[in-house]
């Protein structure tokens, strides 16, 4: 005979209770005193609070959401009688972890229609949030964000470059984020726990730069009363960025070459060599190869510095990043100074994307910050953008007339660029733009574009 005990009969649930227990959304109800009267299985799992502990307790002590308190959604619902649906928040569990949720609320009434409390349902968005971050992570490495294929190529090699101890030469126009990429390389490198020291070699005169980089000993020169460690010493165990390396004098280039070759240097006035336990990154907006050709930059130093080369593309070659960058800049401005500005109008964004941005991201950030300050509406429009973006002769006036005008400005720019690319050849320009030649000529006429005197075809014929 089996000694197995007979299983106790299952607890009888009413249909509503069964439904509540089976769903993956957390549900709890409260009475008019904000005390929890129902707390389902999913609510236990999401909050980490057992039903037995939750029942009878104040909902805010159990739920602990970012809305609890002054922004309580349930209180709002009970006051207005209107439900709140899909509001985003986070809850804090006993481990201090934040769980992103979306919540909805409704009023609970008895059969006679009297309000007896409220119900709150909430959904754990951790997985959605993780997926969202994973997706955005594809466009992000450290503090760098880009959807541009040019930048994606850099992102792919960045971890490997960061892991190596080699010297990196970062090239790029002003404002393209050379220092940011240097910081990212440092943050991804095994030296991440060490300091990151950036030195602008173009900002200091030669003699000062030497003592700044290598330090000095007491008595090295008049006024040197004590020892001063240089930037190489400060960066010990970390990374040093020599920005604007193309600006340094030939004499200092020799000293720098020695540091890179032998990993040693002597502070001014010292008789002993110090070891440079530092990874060197160099950056410049100059064409170093050209400087070498002209004899302004030592060839041996150039090859020492140019072990790994990273070229930061200018913003005009990655203008698909402009919407993303605008969002990031606005988010940063929001954090610093709360304003009701939520975004940029499509017309303004079109103008931003059509601009050449000679000052690159720095210039874009300044333009957005200016617009953010001037904007007293919810969306930044064309009128809030700096004049240089709109001042293209007659195009400026037309730009101010709204969407259509903004499109006209873009059309005119596109047509002019296509003509230039195709040496004035109208048909080739139309093909390049993907429009029929009739449409091309109609637009040229409407926008008042002056066509080049010679057609590209004629010139080719003449050459032939």
């Amino acid at each position: 005979m089996s000694s197995r005990k007979k299983a106790p009969p299952p607890r009888v649930h009413n249909p509503t209770e069964t439904i509540l227990e089976s769903i993956s959304d957390g549900v709890f109800t409260v009475d008019r005193e904000w005390r929890i009267t129902t707390f389902n299985r999913a609510a236990e799992q999401i909050t980490g609070v057992r039903r037995a502990e939750a029942l009878g307790r104040r909902c805010c002590d159990v739920f602990r959401s970012s809305l609890c308190g002054a922004e309580c959604a349930l209180q709002q619902t009970l006051q207005t009688g209107k439900p709140v649906i899909g509001k985003s928040a986070y809850i804090v569990d006993a481990g201090g972890n934040r769980t992103p949720i979306s919540l909805s609320t409704a009023v609970l009434r008895d059969r006679k229609g009297h309000v007896i409390g409220g119900v709150e349902t909430f959904r754990d968005l951790s997985e959605v949030e993780a997926l969202r971050q994973e997706l955005s992570g594809r466009f992000r490495v450290g503090d760098l964000t880009s959807r541009s294929p040019l930048m994606q190529r850099i992102f792919e090699v960045l971890p490997a470059i960061a892991a190596s101890p080699s010297t990196v030469l970062i090239l790029g126009e002003t404002g393209t984020g050379k220092e940011l990429i240097a910081r990212t390389l440092h943050a991804l490198s095994p030296r991440q726990q060490g300091p990151f020291v950036a030195v602008n070699c173009g900002a200091l005169p030669d003699t000062l730069l030497e003592s700044e980089l290598f330090g000095y000993k007491a008595g090295a020169f008049t006024g040197a009363q004590g020892n001063k460690p240089g930037r190489f010493a400060q960066a010990k165990g970390g990374t040093i960025l020599l920005d604007e390396i193309g600006e340094i004098s030939p004499a200092l280039q020799v000293r720098l070459l020695r540091v890179l070759q032998e990993r040693t240097y002597e502070p001014l006035g010292s008789t002993h060599s110090e070891t440079a336990d530092v990874r060197v990154l160099a950056a410049t907006n100059k064409d170093l190869a050209n400087l070498v050709e002209r004899g302004l930059f030592r060839e041996d130093l150039y090859y020492r510095v140019n072990v790994i080369r990273l070229e930061m593309p200018p913003l005009r070659r990655r203008n698909e990043d402009i919407p993303l960058l605008v969002d990031l800049i606005l988010a940063r401005l929001h954090r610093l100074q709360r304003k009701a500005v939520t975004g940029v109008s499509p017309e303004a964004l079109s103008l931003l994307m059509a601009h050449d941005w000679p000052g690159n991201i720095r210039q874009l950030a300044n333009a957005i910050e200016r617009a953010f300050i001037l904007c007293d509406e919810s969306v930044i429009g064309i009128g809030h953008l700096p004049a240089e973006l709109r001042s293209r002769g007659a195009e400026m006036e037309s730009a101010e007339r709204g969407v259509r005008s903004a499109h006209d400005v873009l059309d005119a720019q596109a047509i002019r660029a296509a003509l230039a690319r195709n040496g004035g050849n109208r048909l080739a320009a139309a093909r390049d733009l993907g429009i029929h030649k009739t449409t091309f000529f109609r637009r040229v006429k409407r926008l008042g574009i002056e066509l080049p005197a010679r057609d590209g075809r004629q010139r080719r014929d003449e050459i032939e």
């Binding site: 799992q45 980490g48 609070v49 502990e53 959401s65 308190g69």
Partner: protein
């Protein structure tokens, strides 16, 4: 020592990360020597913490607090007494009496983690894989 109690509507605020009101209590020899109410206006977490530092707060008594916020407050040398619930006046009194560790002042799901050293721990792991002693009360 100055202690700050994050509150909302005369109760300990459920979540410190979003709390705005602080009841500041100055105490010596188990007696209150001064108290005031302060509004934390900073939007950024660090602004909040810097305000506490400026007020000379040595201990923060609060409701739920996220780990990054907790670590930030402690990084500025302020001891955090988290997951406290109850009426503000009662909690202040309990702090003065040294009875704040009683379960009655612990938020649901956070009780059983404030036993003093040496006592046998009765592990009451809640649902959702919560650490038994996330804040080191038992250490």
């Amino acid at each position: 020592m100055n202690a700050a109690f994050a509150y909302w509507q005369q109760r300990i605020a459920p979540v410190f990360d979003t709390a705005r009101q602080i009841h500041l209590v100055e105490a010596a020899g188990g007696r209150i020597t001064g108290h005031s109410d302060v509004t934390l206006t900073g939007e950024l977490p660090v602004q909040k913490v810097l305000k506490l530092v400026e007020l000379g707060v040595g201990m923060l008594i609060c409701g739920a607090i996220s780990r990054p916020m907790h670590d930030l407050v402690e990084a500025y040398g302020i001891k955090v007494f988290p997951f406290v619930t109850g009426d503000l006046g009662e909690v202040v009194q309990a702090w003065l009496d040294g009875s704040l560790r009683r379960d009655v002042y612990a938020m649901p799901g956070c009780c059983g983690r404030r036993r003093r050293r040496g006592r046998q721990r009765k592990v009451r792991r809640c649902l959702g894989e919560i650490e038994p002693d996330p804040w080191g009360w038992d250490r």
